[in-house]
Symmetry: none
């Protein structure tokens, strides 16, 4: 098996993304995860550009990594001075990194417009900088910025810049699609031309501006490139960098190339979520390979098939990247989805059972009215229990009133709810305030029920979403409320639909509480 | 210029995505947008699979589309019966669509495992179904499901299935990468082989499970395929379908192939956001071409280079898809945005004007509190007017009270609002009911003001969205309300933010009415 070296730049190019910024501590933690997952090179930052990055290289020295090498990033020397006088080059040496990567211009247009120096002088910048660093650092890489654009504009000059890097002793020359505009069918032929002119090992660095970054990297590897640069989850400036979470399984599973071990690849989903977590971003559900939906099936046809043979609708086994198959329920679902869900909830149903069909009909009718059970699986479980007669009514609500009052233009309104509930024979009548009518109602309902079910104190409302469904005209249109609740053990979603937002919210709140009470009762019940 | 026909399946395959579920009304609205954007075929649904899709084909008949053809989706006939007896085939004919697309098996493994019939019989299923439909429908397309997997497993049989479709008279045969596992370097050679065996026009349908859907479609077109199937924003089951928002500019700008007009391509960003809006999903800011960050640049050298020569760091002009260059973190860029918006609203501002900076600071402060002016441009315009002192206070609200009352478990609650407003010297105190507190408040507010401003009778509330902002914890977190209102002339969006959903809604409602009153006053004013 031929080997591809992975070069991660999440900590440098990744932080160029609009909404991403890591503390030095975060970067250290991520570096450890990358090391455990078998990434060969970890680009820690651009020490010449900011103090945070200087601190990273200082701190990482104290850490024990199992195999990864730390790389520092910078640019070729400025014009008119020697490398030893160039502050940016000196910080690279001072970083004491295991490797340095410097970028230079390959595009004549950039040399004229951005550097504003003669083409020949740019070649000297590249040569001097690399030669100086090569004498002082264990490994030196050259990022050929804008290489593909440069090659298309002036192939002869673009190749000259690579030769300058080769003569200066670069250990690897990385062809960069800096603007991300290169099409997959252009990569193979250009890489082939480069290989004729240059014998140094080649790498690829792509951006996702054409939504082709992963494909372009894969095609480059197919054309004989041995280093792939990218980021976890494709974080990066504008549309992001090539996503290593998609490249790693493509290399190993589909192209049979070694880069990380099978065991390390099984940590890919964890790594992806860990990086989202530290970036404080919600994971992309639909992300290839590692996303929650990557192996989620909704269509009825698909579900019955994957249960017999996963390969019918799964391009690979989700376990290979630490992911799992999921089954969704919707008006597109067939019996198979219902049965699969039932087993998930330890409810035994069989397809012959008329109840199965009944549930299916209910779902289709309810979805036509605007219900949606994805993200509201607790409501779905209660629906099944009702159909099966295993649902237990823990309480009934005799009535409630919610008042929102605003007395002056600049005051916040006050929301107050009164509620009357019945549990067993007992009636509880109470009131509570809240930030808005729904919150007040939620508080009052729980306050009333906590007397009978103290465990409800653990329940928190995590998310509340409202959507007006353009069913009818204006006021007639119905409203869907999705609520996410949770306790110490986990989270669950419930749904309510009505022409009245209070009623819709009320339905979702009641489901949320009933689910909690069922859950606790089942947990308490003696296991067979 | 060679022509590629775009086939959109947002309304069918797109709705297979987890968390996407469109009502029939949403689907009709999206179909109009797709038509305006020049999409050749709009796959509306699978009428055989659920009542919602049957309703779509019935309703779309009543709509006037400018150029798009509506396609209905279904499968080949079941075994052991003739097409005329097959319920699924009959609903396709009953749909009266302009075109039908049926899918069949190309992968021997699928024929054995999913259909469980002999390979020969599957060829008959394909032939009979297409022949039957071809005699009854204007255009008939054949989706060769799992074609690439099938070809890799058994090329001879895979080709036979295509020949069956060709002999039955399919107008186009679409090669599907159903599981999304095909690598870009496999596409060109397989398509080339197919072209040797089949003379019918070919199409491509890819999924994004390997993050290669767009690239695979592009490579297929490069190999001579003439129909590209995909969805807006790449919505679709699991990791999604090929994203037409990325494919359209690749075809037109980078490959010089015709598919939509330049004018239509400039609507691409609007189309993308419109579909996110109706799906009630937050747009992906890093999305290629159309995302907010797609042409966002950080300060410094990058920016000055961009300003002199955009091509230094932009792979194409953002205007071509209705997007714009953004410069991050610098006030200067913010200023530029304000000025751009001002001109959009015919407000004349110049960058020297201190008001510009004032507006900029207001916006930044408000955005920090959770405001968002995307889709709330009416609120943004009022904000500018307030800063410029051109805002006129048409009314003030002295106070209101909203009561929601539920008296029996199975009753809908009744929502009633009382309100006191002041216009000029006069006070109006009135009350109204509504479907929920916000609607009641809206009704009462308008009832009170209609006495003074009769034109408010034309205003309708079209959409109402609520998001809990993950700002603080539970009840403390603030709530953002986005409202879309409209009258005979057009629609406008307003926003409100508060920890109390009623207050947030109230802010958005007041803005919506103030905007209408300003709008009418300006329309009435004599033009210079």
């Amino acid at each position: 098996m031929s080997l591809v070296k992975l070069y991660d730049t999440t900590l440098r190019d990744g932080t160029q993304a609009e909404d991403i910024s890591f503390l030095v501590e975060d970067k250290i933690r991520i570096a450890h995860k990358l090391d455990e997952t078998g990434i060969a090179y970890i680009e820690g930052g651009w020490p010449g550009s900011n103090p945070k990055d200087v601190a990273f290289f200082k701190d990482i020295k104290k850490e024990k990594l199992s195999q990864a090498k730390i790389a520092a990033f910078g640019s070729t020397r400025r014009a008119k001075i020697t490398p030893d006088k160039d502050q940016n080059i000196r910080t690279l040496v001072q970083s004491e990194a295991d490797a340095v990567t410097i970028f230079g211009k390959s595009w004549d247009f950039q040399v004229h417009e951005a550097l504003r120096i003669p083409l020949e002088e740019n070649l000297e910048l590249i040569y001097d900088s690399l030669e100086y660093l090569k004498a002082r650092m264990p490994e030196v890489f050259y990022d050929a910025e804008h290489f593909f654009d440069g090659y298309k504009a002036n192939p002869e000059y673009a190749i000259k810049t690579l030769k300058a890097a080769e003569q200066a002793g670069a250990d690897c020359i990385i062809l960069c699609d800096t603007n991300g505009g290169t099409m997959p069918f252009e990569i193979a032929s250009i890489v082939a031309e480069v290989k004729k002119a240059v014998s140094t090992q080649l790498g690829i660095h792509t951006h996702n501006d054409s939504e082709c970054a992963v494909a372009n990297s894969i095609v480059a590897v197919q054309s004989g490139i041995v280093q792939v640069q990218g980021t976890i989850n494709g974080f990066g400036e504008r549309c992001g960098n090539a996503n290593l979470c998609s490249i790693i399984p493509a290399l190993k599973v589909k192209m049979k190339m070694e880069c990380v071990s099978d065991q390390q690849m099984r940590q890919l989903r964890d790594l992806s979520r860990y990086v989202y977590e530290l970036a404080n971003l919600a994971p992309n559900k639909h992300q290839a390979y590692v996303g929650n939906s990557a192996f989620a099936h909704k269509g009825g046809v698909h579900v019955s098939a994957i249960q017999r043979h996963p390969e019918t609708y799964e391009h690979m086994r989700p376990e290979l990247v630490g992911n799992t198959t999921r089954v969704l329920v919707s008006d597109l679902s067939g019996r198979a989805n219902i049965l699969a869900k039932a087993t998930e909830f330890n409810i035994n149903l069989d397809s012959k059972d008329p109840v199965t069909l009944e549930i299916l009909e209910d779902i289709k009718a309810m979805e036509n009215r605007g219900y949606q059970f994805e993200g509201a699986e607790a409501s779905f479980e209660l629906l099944m229990k009702r159909a099966l007669g295993t649902h237990r009514k823990f309480f009934s609500v005799i009535g409630f009133r919610v008042i929102d009052e605003k007395r002056h233009e600049d005051d916040q309104p006050i929301s107050e709810a009164t509620i009357k509930v019945k549990v067993g024979g007992k009636i509880e009548h109470t009131a509570a305030e809240g930030a808005g009518p729904v919150n007040a109602l939620d508080n009052a309902l729980r306050k009333a029920l906590e007397k009978f079910y103290p465990k409800l104190r653990d329940v928190k409302l995590h998310d509340y979403k409202v959507r007006v469904l353009p069913a009818g005209q204006g006021t007639a249109s119905s409203i869907r409320v999705l609520i996410e609740s949770g306790d110490k053990e986990g989270r669950w979603g419930t749904v309510g639909v009505s022409s009245n937002v209070i009623e819709a919210s009320y339905q979702a709140l009641v489901d949320a509480i009933e689910f909690k009470l069922h859950k606790d009762e089942e947990a308490a019940a003696p296991k067979p």
